[in-house]
Subunit: 255 residues, 2 copies
């Protein structure tokens, strides 16, 4: 009998998030589950690692069949700690999420959830980030958990090439209304932002980041578009950010 | 007479770093200079943005001909603040650095210096990250400053396509020993890491990230290799992380 695959889980909403709990219980049907998640919310920390402060560790109870701990760091820290120190070996799969809110377009560059999966990928482990297209703190992650099971089975069966991870975004709807899966590309988008100035009780100014997301990309094959159309978007992301086409153009530049 | 281009500068070593000062003074010969840098060191914060805390702002004196301020945020926050609120308009160029230490291979994914340039690129501004191949706090940035001038002139003259920024790494040597410029790709590398456990004065454990960098890529055309060989490496980086080749392969997957 084959032994169950080892699955290491993190997220960026923190150890107490609903999406993490649903993902951990969904993965119990796929393999042996280990969770190492940030002690507090780490949204928008991207692929940050903590190098100026030490980290604290807490054992955590997430229910039967799940070995879990929390770390006072980022998702990338959690995967580094999980693989290098806590497990002390490479798992068969890293999954990150299920994030509260989509990580499509430029938002996937900021995402701590994606950052956790990037670290798994850097370490040579098949890795997937999962996000739900709802910012509701009390959203129902049931459908997303089933989607995550399906994707985890695919990746364990088919593998991923070195240096490529998957970014999965799941529409917020009952399973029966989902239209299926689409391989999608990252949309080009940006935020239009100005900072809001406020005054503290002693009159000194402080600034809050505030703005709105602008889609600059009307393609029907983007992550934004397919989720909007009711499909699970699956985007393979590469660690190598070199733009090879423009690198060839730049060979003509004289210095 | 053409007006001087507006240049917005940030870094991740913070407003007090030598590399920032050298870059700001080097850019004075290229355009009108505005600096908005993190109040404290923000190494390895990647493309993080601060969404759970407000930011504080400080006017700063970096010398004649330089308008400067510090912000209690990340490099990406600084560019968002600089463009959206402080300048209130798009500059002609964003430059980030000069970083203390190289941002080659996987390190460019963690880099806050690169994160600042990513934000410029997302906002549709030609953007360049500069890093010096020396971790010496008292390194001489003179050569790197001259390289930055040359690259800034090139980019202002030739432009960059939408969604592509440049990542420039400079060998640590006198200008006369530099072999020239090479267009290079991002090397594939990882860190081998375990966390070091220590005990605080009341006996509770805490963990420091510790490890060493492993180059997994022996190509002569990587950023790591060309800097090692004495060339300035120039790598065009794309915002779009979609792996299109593997996306085509994945079209065959059945769900």
């Amino acid at each position: 009998m084959m032994s169950k695959p080892t699955i290491l889980i993190t997220n960026d909403d923190g150890i107490e998030a609903d999406g993490l709990l649903v993902l951990a219980h969904a993965m119990k049907e796929v393999g042996q589950v280990f969770v190492v998640a940030p002690r507090t919310e780490q949204s928008a920390v991207s692929y940050m690692v903590t190098i100026r402060d030490p980290l604290r560790f807490f054992n955590w109870d997430l229910g039967e069949g799940i070995t879990a701990c929390a770390l006072t760091g980022t998702p990338a820290d959690c995967i580094k700690f999980g693989v290098g120190t806590w497990l002390g070996r490479k798992p068969d799969l890293v999954v990150s999420g299920i994030n509260q809110g989509p990580n499509t377009a430029v938002n996937l560059l900021h995402s701590g959830t994606v950052g956790g999966a990037i670290e798994g990928c850097v370490e040579g482990i098949p890795s997937v980030a999962f996000s739900l297209d709802s910012f509701d703190k009390h959203a129902d992650y049931t459908t997303a958990g089933k989607v995550a099971q399906k994707v985890a089975h695919q990746v364990l069966n088919l593998g991923l090439p070195d240096g490529i991870m998957l970014n999965v975004n799941i529409p917020y709807m009952p399973e029966k209304d989902l239209k299926g899966f689409r391989i999608a590309r990252q949309a080009r988008s940006r935020w239009d932002e100005a900072f809001t100035e406020r005054k503290d009780p002693i009159g000194r100014p402080y600034y809050w980041l505030a703005g709105y997301h602008i889609n600059l990309d009307q393609g029907p094959d983007t992550d934004l578009a397919v989720v909007e159309a009711g499909y699970v978007s699956v985007t393979p992301l590469q660690l190598d950010r070199t733009d090879y086409a423009f690198a060839r153009t730049m060979q003509e530049w004289t210095w």
